[in-house]
Amino acid sequence: MNDDDRVFNALADSNRRFLLDLLFGRDGRPLTELESELEMTRFGVMKHLRVLEEAGLVVTRRSGREKLHFLNPVPILMIHERWIDKYREGRVSALTELKAQLEEQR
């Protein structure tokens, strides 16, 4: 899997997207806090967090005895630049061309 595959794969699961939303709401949270928000075993939550971490979407830091999870927005921004801006610009320029053509015909 390349980096993009890992990010898309990580985002292709509603539980993992929910975990990202939890961190977006409040960042830097330990496992115990996150697992209380999901109806899932601790092991299941850990597995999902690991997938997110391997995709670079979550970065962990140690703080005393706790491991804190932080949302890393960089991979999402890069996917946005690579996959979303590109197509949106395409649409916009197609529309401006259409407008120019229609106006020429008048």
């Binding site: 960042d27 830097g28 970065v59 830091r61 804190l68 932080f70 927005p73 960089v74 921004l77």
Partner: protein, 170 residues
């Protein structure tokens, strides 16, 4: 402790370059003027050394035209806490371009560069206790008002510049 983690932001990016190249791109003005906010950094790279960022002429002109008022000579200041080239840099950071942010306390930025197979990871941790205005800016919340996309955007530009030699604006 819970308050400090809630005000900390962490960003990580993978860059196909040597740790030294990444270190240079962060600490040398001839690099920093080519990506992100284009500020000219001035680091005295030893513990207790000064950290200043000055605007380039085009940035100064654009900013003054867009937001009015005169830009200060130094737009960001702080102090180097730890410099361990090319792997770790810790410095304090205060934004002086905006009076509201200039009143906030010094925040703290840590850069960590780790060598991996054929690439490096660059992790930026920004501890923003007591500085909600700066926190919003570096999170990219004010991008639509022309304030740039914050750390995520800066790091993504830094990666593009190091890996390809150019940025989107070129």
């Amino acid at each position: 402790m819970s308050t400090s983690t809630e005000t900390t932001q962490v960003y990580r990016i993978y860059i196909k370059a040597s740790a030294q190249a990444i270190w240079d791109a962060i600490t040398k003005p001839e690099w920093t003027e080519r990506y992100g906010y284009t500020g000219l950094v001035d680091f005295d790279l030893r513990s207790g050394g000064a950290y200043k960022v000055r605007p380039t002429e085009p940035f100064k002109k654009e900013s003054e035209a867009r937001f009015g008022g005169e830009l200060p000579e130094v737009i960001i200041d702080g102090e180097v806490v730890e410099a361990d080239p090319p792997h770790k840099l810790v410095h304090t950071f205060r934004m002086l371009m905006d009076p509201g942010m200039a009143e906030e306390p010094y925040t703290r930025i840590t850069y960590e560069i780790k060598e991996l197979d054929h690439m490096c990871s660059l992790t930026l941790t920004h501890e923003l206790e007591g500085a909600p205005k700066l926190a919003a800016l570096v999170r990219g919340d004010q991008e639509e008002y022309g304030a740039g996309g914050g750390h995520a955007w800066v790091l993504s530009e830094l990666k593009t510049l190091i890996e390809t030699g150019k940025v989107f604006a070129d």
